[in-house]
């Protein structure tokens, strides 16, 4: 379970990046955070990963305070960035092996990695290919494979479908759905309203560091989500 309680981040230059954000993502739930650039989506992710310290409030991962016990909290979270780069000189399997071991999975064999990659939709010839020769879609798939192998109960996705072609994005969302259905708590930051609508159990709209709207799937399903988003953006402009 992922929780943010009155989470606030003010930078040294007095910029308020996050203003008392509170949210909770339960097991088997996907929370999509929408918002313009600078709205505070990535700041939220960075606070969950303890890359920055909050100036107020709390971040809890499975009940563990991230600021107090970051290493313990990180055992229960996986992260997929907007642009998964990995080590270009390594093959896909070598990258998986390294990150799997960092994630605590030390007993996996070559065949296990092949199975994971096959399941995610990577073709066999990609397994031992250097990642620097991968397309963005392939790298994103490898990134989510790392998360799958770690098998943490919580997943943070920072604009994971940005720059992907529609087919690759659809495939990616299907994978996320599968993870959600397996009981993972997922926060996905995105600009892609269409994909958010497709996968989210809850959607939040962020503006200037504040969560200005939060609706469940039942609440937004009949609505024109794009119109709601545009209205919020206009209101606060």
């Amino acid at each position: 379970m992922l929780q943010a309680i009155d989470l606030t981040k003010r930078y040294e230059d007095d910029l308020l990046a996050l203003d008392k954000l509170s949210l909770e993502v339960k097991e088997g739930e996907t929370f999509c955070l929408l918002g313009a650039n600078g709205a505070g989506k990535t700041t939220t992710i960075n606070l969950f990963l303890n890359f920055i310290e909050p100036t107020g409030g709390q971040v809890l991962i499975n009940g563990i305070d991230v600021a107090q016990n970051p290493l313990e909290a990180k055992k229960y979270i996986s992260y997929v960035s907007e642009n998964v780069m990995l080590y270009g000189n390594f093959t896909a399997r070598q990258n998986l092996n390294y990150f799997a071991r960092l994630g605590g999975k030390r007993e996996l064999k070559k065949e296990d990695y092949y199975m994971y990659m096959r399941n995610i939709g990577l073709t066999d010839n990609a397994f031992e290919m250097r990642v620097k020769n991968f397309s963005k879609g392939m790298r994103q798939k490898l990134g989510i494979t790392i998360a799958i192998i770690k098998d943490a109960p919580n997943i943070l996705l920072d604009e994971p479908t940005a720059g992907l072609d529609p087919k690759a994005a659809a495939e990616f969302i299907k994978i996320i759905s599968g993870l959600r259905d397996s009981g993972k708590s997922i926060i996905m930051c995105t600009h892609d309203i269409f994909r958010a609508r497709e996968i989210a159990d809850r959607i939040g709209i962020m503006k200037a560091g504040r969560l200005v709207m939060s609706r469940t799937r039942e609440e937004f399903l009949g609505d024109d989500l794009e119109q709601i988003y545009m209205d919020y953006m206009r209101e606060t402009a």
């Binding site: 890359f51 979270i77 080590y87 000189n89 990150f99 960092l102 990134g143």
Partner: protein
């Protein structure tokens, strides 16, 4: 986990084009430097042996002790076998000195004197390769160690796991350094093998020990730049900035500080030029030479000439005493002038050395030259040994000259050099070399600790976003 990070770092580096480039470059340069070092040493050895033989022949062919006293003995500096690795100042300073009754001996005829083209580019010895090329390669290995991971996005992904930052930076340092050592150690070992199998190269147990310690010094030097690279990489947010900063520091360390230190020491403690010193010595020599006829006239007035053997013996005895007295005065005066000059020079040299030790490049050169016995200390030791030898030779030749002098005869007995005192030189012992190199080791270790601590602390606070 630490092992995983080390393995990853090594694999990442070894599979990169920069590793292949470094390996090839190091192999070519290190082997080339050893080869040129060996050839240079063999040529020096050949010249040394020829010079010794020629000197003996010259001495034996002199018509009289008087001619021998004027010509003097040519003392040649024996080449150091470790100059194959660290040529030091060997090529720039003189290798031969004439020891005669008149002049204060000084070393002349450097390799650069005999062929100035060598001075244009300097020697391509192993210490030069380490000083310039390997320090640059160490920087190339580390300038993006941290910041590159940030730019690639792998740092965020890595630290999203429960990876302690201290372990990550430690793993990176160990793994990256180990993979940098591979392209250095393999060619160095090959170079040593070549050194052992080459004819004319005879290495004693102490030489091997010295080589081992020099290699440790080389590794420390490379580690300084490696840790510096890691430090700057953990202080910057762009790899291009990191590279620029490191190149600036490299230029400052390698070229600016050593030269600036020498210039500053020259300004703070100015010393008279060698020409001024020579002029002082020459003036005294002329003064003394002017005294000789005066003393001779005085003696003749006191001892009117007689055609007896007793008179001749008395006259020869007087001449010998006069000669010994005058040369002794010359030697004492020269020694006094020299001592004053050397004291000032040593003060300037100590200041230049200590100031330049801010740079690891200077510490490398001073340390390696001490251990290779090719530095300033060894040169001074040799020069001092010649200066010690001079009065011994002078006394012997004066005694021989006067005792065998045939008064009133043009024909003088040919010199017999079988009992001529031989110049002795005891090279610096390993303990002495180590004592001289100790500050250099200490400074390098201090810099390594300083830069690694800097990198470590910086990374703990590094903004990975």
């Amino acid at each position: 986990m630490l092992r995983d990070i080390i393995n990853k770092e090594m694999l990442d580096t070894i599979s990169s084009p920069k590793f292949v480039f470094t390996f090839l470059l190091c192999t070519i340069l290190i082997l080339l430097s050893v080869y040129t070092g060996i050839n240079s040493y063999r040529a020096e050895l050949g010249e040394y042996n020829a010079s010794i033989a020629l000197n003996r022949k010259n001495l034996e062919s002199q018509p009289s002790y008087g001619a021998l006293a004027g010509l003097g003995v040519k003392v040649t500096k024996p080449p150091q076998v470790l100059s194959t690795i660290v040529s030091g100042i060997q090529e720039a300073v003189g290798r031969k000195a004439s020891v005669n009754v008149a002049y204060d001996p000084s070393l002349v005829d450097s390799k650069y004197d005999s062929n100035p083209v060598f001075a244009v580019f300097g020697e391509l010895d192993l210490s030069f390769i380490v000083k310039i090329v390997l320090s640059l390669l160490a920087i190339l290995f580390t300038f993006d160690a941290v910041v590159g991971e940030k730019e690639r996005g792998t740092l965020k992904l890595t630290l999203s796991n429960n990876v302690p930052r201290d372990r990550f930076i430690l793993g990176k340092a160990i793994g990256s350094f180990a993979s940098l050592l591979l392209p250095l150690i393999i060619p160095m070992v090959l170079g040593l093998i070549i050194l052992t199998v080459y004819p004319d190269i005879s290495l004693t147990g102490e030489d091997w020990l010295r080589i081992g310690i020099i290699f440790i010094l080389f590794l420390l030097y490379i580690s300084v730049f490696f840790m510096l690279g890691l430090f700057v990489s953990a202080r910057t947010s762009r790899s291009s900035t990191s590279l620029l900063v490191l190149l600036f520091i490299w230029v400052t360390f390698v070229t600016v500080i050593p030269r600036a230190a020498v210039m500053a020491a020259g300004q703070i403690y100015p010393i008279p030029s060698v020409h001024e010193i020579t002029a002082q010595k020459d003036a005294f020599l002329q003064e003394i030479q002017g005294l000789a006829p005066q003393k001779l006239n005085e003696w003749r007035q006191e001892n009117p000439p007689q055609d007896t053997q007793e008179y001749q013996d008395k006259f020869k005895k007087f001449l010998e005493e006069l000669q010994q007295d005058l040369t002794s005065k010359i030697d004492k005066k020269n020694a006094a002038i020299e001592e004053e000059y050397q004291a000032k020079r040593r003060k300037q040299e100590a200041l230049a050395t200590n100031l330049s030790r801010i740079s690891p490049t200077s510490t490398l050169m001073f340390g390696a030259m001490s251990l290779g016995r090719t530095g300033i200390h060894e040169h001074e030791r040799f020069l001092n040994s010649i200066k010690t030898y001079k009065p011994v030779f002078t006394k012997w030749v004066n005694a021989k000259m006067m005792r065998t002098l045939k008064l009133g005869s043009v024909e003088q007995p040919r010199p017999d050099i079988s009992d001529m005192p031989v110049h002795q030189f005891e090279p610096e012992s390993l303990n002495q070399s180590l004592a001289a190199a100790l500050p250099d080791f200490a400074i390098m270790i201090l810099l390594i600790i300083l830069f690694f601590t800097g990198a470590f602390v910086s990374f703990l606070r590094y903004d990975v976003r």
